[in-house]
Each structure stands twice: as C-alpha cells, then as structure tokens.
C-alpha cells in the first residue's frame, strides 16, 4: 500500500496473518470453530495460533455448526469480536437458520437495538475431487440475505485486508475462501492493512467484453482473458470481491464500455449469483448491450468424483473463451 517491502506469501499465510494481527490488535477478537486449535485448522490457516493465544481465544468446538455459530452471534452481541470458522460451506447449511434468522435479522427485528459484529469464515468450492457433498458453492444463498455482508477474497491482499475491515464492521460479515486458493501465492506488502469491502476490482482492463468472476473463478477468468488476447480479443476481468452489497457502479461502467458481458460463477447455473448480476446489468445497462449476457456456471449436477467429470462440471477457461467468442459473435 505505502511502499513497505513486498513479500511472497500464500493465501493461507495471508489468512493466518490477518487473524493473528487481529487478535494481537484487539483483545475482543477470538477464533472459534472445528479443529481451529490443536489440529491447526483443516486448511492449516490457524496453525500456531493456539500456542500464541491459548485455548480460550483459539477455541476448538465440537461438531455443532448450528450452535457454535449461534454462540458466536451471542458472543458478538455480548461485546466480543468473534471470528467463527465453519470448516466448509457444505456444513454451513446446519447453521443457516442461525445466520438468517438471528445474525442477519436481529438488528432489524429489535428495531435497531441489537447489532451482531460477527465475522464468519468458510472454505468454499470444488476442484479437489471431494465429490457431491463436499464441493458446494452456495455463495448466492448468503448474498440473498439482507443484513449480511458477503465477501469473496480472491487475492492474498484481499485475504489479509478484508478480514481486517470485516472485523471493524458493526454487522455480520461472511468471508468465502475458495479451497483451491489456500496454496496460491502472491506478493503482499509487509504492512498490508485493511482494504475496502464495498468495491469490485478490475483485475484486467479491456475493451471488448466484460468477464465477471469472484473467488475461485477469477484466476480462470484471467486465464481465459490471456487466451482471448491471443485471438485479438481484449477482455476486461472484474473480480466482484463483495457479493453483498454488489458494486453495480463498477459493473455498469465496464459494460457501458465493452457492451458485452460473460458472467462466471461456480454455483449451479439455475439460481446462481450470475443470474442476479445479469438481471442488474439488464436493469441498469440494457441499452448499452450489443449482445446477450452469457453465463458460464457449474452444470446442473452434484459434483462427480472423477476428475474428468468434475472438470467438465465446473467453469473452465476454455468454456469462458467459448462463451466470449459466441458473445462477440459476428465480430470475431
């Protein structure tokens, strides 16, 4: 941000640094979830934190997703700043009642009295052959809920900085960490700090088509853009970053320029967040569009175990390229 030396870190390290610094900075912050302590986190995100902060602040829970998320809500109301980790989005359904009916709703139904400054983190997504029950991308379930903010850090900078901002927020914030990102590396300033959580980012500027992704699909969109560049098509790639509230302004500005859009989403196509983005662009930029907006989403099938079928089910750079080519159509 301000010229401090940049170092190479993994996404996992960025998440860990973010949690560590938050706990150092603010005595009210604590981490709670399944195997965050002794085990070090399923994805090793909290490795070492138990030693540094002790079992009260790095709190292993039993397998009770509904209750420990509810406990996090109560603790937030009671003045703490909990980071609650749900191991993966797949298990978050067991806590969805607490998230929707309490975390998101208490402020409103109490007439503004009860705020819930809770931060929820969870791994999301497919791509590791863990099959039908462990490969969900349910971000749109959460993006649907008024009262929540929903983030999807796709870079090491966002992994580190969004958690900071989220912890400053007086309302519940959910962070989706795509499981395939933990091992990825990026450059990060040593003193990297908070980042805004209400803006999408243009990850690659381009003139011919807008490709929108988030979380695990950003890298795929960028890869597609590289492939398209070879064919002389200049794609703009937008990383949504924040899934609720959506940054209409950045989206609309891009589409006004490119007049075409392809939306990439690892959710199943029907009922995906990509559908919402499409509807918003239609509402706000219909007359700027030169071609139908296209979606590249996950096929309508529970994720199969074998690699070739899993790959075929998920959005891939090749499918994004195809969709862009169809969109730019006659032009190509």
């Amino acid at each position: 941000m301000n010229g401090a030396p940049a170092v190479k870190v993994t996404y996992r390290e960025a998440v860990r640094a973010a949690m560590r610094e938050a706990m150092q900075r603010d005595a009210r912050v604590f981490l709670m979830g399944e195997d965050v302590g002794r085990y070090g986190g399923t994805y090793a995100c909290s490795l070492g934190l138990l030693d540094e902060f002790g079992p009260e602040r790095v709190r292993d829970t039993p397998l009770s997703e509904g209750a420990f998320v509810g406990v996090g809500i109560g603790a937030a109301i009671g003045g703490m700043r909990p980071i609650v980790e749900i191991m993966t989005v797949n298990f978050s359904l067991l806590a969805l009642d607490q998230i929707l009916n309490n975390a998101a709703t208490l402020r409103h139904m109490s007439g503004g009295q009860v705020g819930v400054p809770l931060v929820l983190r969870m791994a999301t997504g497919a791509g590791r052959q863990v099959a039908a029950q462990h490969s969900h991308s349910l971000e749109n379930y959460y993006a649907h809920i008024p009262g929540l903010k929903v983030l999807a850090p796709a870079t090491v900078e966002d992994a580190r900085g969004m958690l900071w901002t989220a912890l400053l927020d007086p309302d519940p914030v959910i962070l989706f960490e795509h499981a395939t990102l933990y091992g990825t590396e990026g450059e990060l300033a040593e003193d990297a700090g908070a980042v805004p959580i209400d803006r999408a980012a243009v990850r690659r500027a381009g003139r011919d088509v807008t490709v929108v992704g988030y979380g695990g699909t950003v890298a795929k969109a960028l890869e597609a853009a590289r492939m398209l560049a070879e064919r002389g098509i200049d794609a703009e790639v937008i990383d949504l970053r924040t899934l609720r509230p959506l940054d209409d302004e950045t989206l609309v500005a891009s589409v006004r320029k490119t007049r075409r859009a392809v939306l990439v989403d690892e959710g199943w196509k029907t009922g995906s967040l990509a559908g919402e983005i499409c509807a918003r662009l239609v509402e706000r930029a219909f007359y700027d569009l030169d071609a139908p907006i296209a979606r590249v989403c996950t096929e309508e099938v529970p994720i199969p175990y074998p690699k070739h079928l899993e790959d075929a089910a998920l959005p891939q750079p090749g499918r994004i390229v195809e969709a862009v080519l169809a969109t730019v159509g006659g032009r190509g």
Binding site: A67, G70, S110
Partner: protein, 337 residues
C-alpha cells in the same frame, strides 16, 4: 445442588414477608391482566400476527426475574410478554410494540414475538423454537471471556428439547462451564403435541442431566418453589461453577395462539390445571399466612388495570413509522441515520 437421582427441590417452609408477597402477586396479576386485554385487542384487530399468551405460566417469570441483576441477560421466546413485564419492560412500551408503533420497545418492527430491550439486557423474543438457546450460551461466553460475573437466563419451552439446537447448546454450555441458567418452561405441549408423544424420555431434567449438568425439576405453578429453585441455580452459576438447568412444570391455560382450536386436549384436563392457577394458589397461601387481605388483592388488581389502561392509551396514541423508513435498521449505518 441436586443429583439426577432425586430431581426434587428440598422441601420445607419458604419464608415470606408482606412486601415480598405483594410484589410477587403484582407481577403475576399484571402479566395476567395485560394478556387478557391483549386477547381482546387481538379480537378487535389492534394486535395482529401471532399472539402467544402466557396465561397460567406467570409464576415462572414472577419467580425468576426479580432475582436477576440489571447486568444479567435474558433470552426468551415468542411467548415472552410475561418475561418482559417481569424484567421491567414498561407495559406501555410492550403494548406499543404489539400495536406496531414506533414507541414500542422494538420500535414497532418486531411485534409480539420479537420483544427486545437492550437497556434491560432483554435479548428477545425469538420465534424459531430453540433458536435463542445458542445465543444465550454466546452471551455467557462473552461474559466469561470479559471477566464479568453475570448470568444469562435462557427461557424455552418443552418443545425446544426435541430440537438439535437445544442439545448442541447444552453440550457447549456444560463443556465450557458457562454461566447460563436454563429455564425450561414445560407446559406439556408444543402446540398440539404433548410431551409423551414427542419425547422418548419425558423427564426433561433427566435429559439435561445427561450433559453432566446440574438440574432440578420444580412445580412451576408454585411461585415460591420457582423462586427457591432459581435462587439455588443462580447461586451455583454465580459461583462460576457452570450452567444450571431447571425444568418448570406448568400449563398453558389458553390456546397456543389465536388460530388454535384446541382439539388435542380435553376440557377436563384444562380444568384440572386451572384449579392450580398460580395466582389463586399464591393468593390463598399469602392470605393463609396472614400476609394479604381482600383489599390488597383488589387494590393490586386495580393498580394493574390502571397500568394497562395507560399502556393501551400510550399505544393508541403512538405513531406509525413513515413508509419511507422501510429499509431502516437492516445495517448499522442506516440505523444511525
């Protein structure tokens, strides 16, 4: 401290003086009269949505709430008018809430099922059965982590015991020895489903006991027994020894809600329980002990009625929130506008 083997409170004479008797009776009478009025106002269309009345169960709120400190917290259910009044939420603020007026304790947004008052640490008013229990455990965790010697009182019905959220929460509270006083208001029915048709083990204290938690089972129609049990529980919890669970056996005199035709229980059964009306029981006892006379009861009732009339007047005169503010209070920024 009671073991699973006995599960009965220590017997014996509970001392009582006139001031104490007056205040217990006041709480019960106020709640009773308030809700009888609510039933009328519902019929008149002034109150809408779901309305769950506490009539018959007043001894619990009246017994427990006065023992809580201002710093303690309460987490309740959709059947919470009695809890709210006994916790000190003004009848006017409660009635205005039922009318959906800005003067309501939840700014009119919540209605009967979502009564909140953070100034009194009254955290709802939760309409998802068992949905408030994890919240209570979390409030207690926050107290423990911040070194505050507070208690969170968590109320729920017998029906909640079948929900997974109950079990997960019992385990967390007991495992982490958190300062929660669990109060299970066992009125023997969840809507139309009686306990023996919904629990393989209808002794709910025994179920809580399986979490290695201290438990007690008490006559919820006897306000003194309730109070004695609550005192034992609070002493234990305040001493930092962990949670305590009280099953309060009681009965709902009225229908579950305004829509309930009550096909699931007999008039006889209801009559038998009405014969153990907590207000009548306690009035008789207090008179027997020479602590209260005819005049006292009558004047308590008049006082309650006056308070309720004033509450209704306040609610009637209250204002509806402008439609332009529809999306207020969803996020903090907006609430702060």
């Amino acid at each position: 401290m009671t073991s699973a083997a006995t599960l009965e409170p220590p017997p014996g004479f509970v001392p009582l003086d006139r001031a104490h008797a007056l205040s217990l009776l006041h709480e019960m009478v106020l709640a009773r009269r308030f809700e009888e009025k609510c039933a009328q106002l519902y019929g008149a269309g002034k109150i809408r949505g779901f309305l769950h009345l506490y009539v018959g169960e007043e001894a619990i709120a009246a017994g427990v709430m006065p023992l809580l400190d201002a710093e303690d917290a309460v987490v309740s259910t959709y059947r919470e008018h009695g809890h709210a009044l006994a916790r000190g939420i003004p009848a006017g603020a409660l009635m205005a809430e039922l009318f959906g007026k800005v003067q309501g304790c939840s700014h009119g947004r919540g209605g009967s099922m979502h009564v909140f008052d953070v100034s009194r640490r009254f955290y709802g008013g939760n309409a998802i059965v068992a949905g408030g229990i994890p919240l209570a455990v979390g409030l207690a965790l926050a107290d423990r982590m911040q070194g505050r010697a507070r208690v969170t009182a968590c109320l729920f019905g017998d029906g909640a015991v079948a929900e997974g959220a109950f079990h997960e929460s019992m385990n967390l509270a007991a495992l982490w020895k958190l300062p929660v006083l669990f109060l299970c208001e066992n009125n023997q029915y969840a809507m139309g489903t009686s306990l023996e048709r919904s629990e393989s083990q209808p002794n709910l204290a025994l179920k809580a006991r399986s979490y290695a938690m201290e438990v007690e089972r008490v006559d919820g129609m006897d306000v003194l027994a309730v109070q004695a049990a609550a005192r034992r529980g609070l002493d234990y919890v305040r001493a930092g020894r962990g949670p305590w669970f009280i099953e309060l056996v009681t009965y709902r005199f009225r229908a579950h809600s305004a829509y309930d035709p009550e096909l699931y229980r007999t008039k006889d059964e209801v009559a038998t329980w009405k014969a153990r009306d907590p207000i009548a029981l306690f009035t008789a006892l207090a008179r027997e002990r020479g602590l209260l006379g005819d005049d006292d009861v009558a004047s308590l009732e008049r006082g309650a009625d006056d308070e309720i009339s004033a509450a209704i007047a306040l609610a009637e005169a209250g204002t509806l929130e402008p439609v332009e503010e529809l999306t207020r209070g969803v996020y903090a920024e907006e609430a702060a506008r």
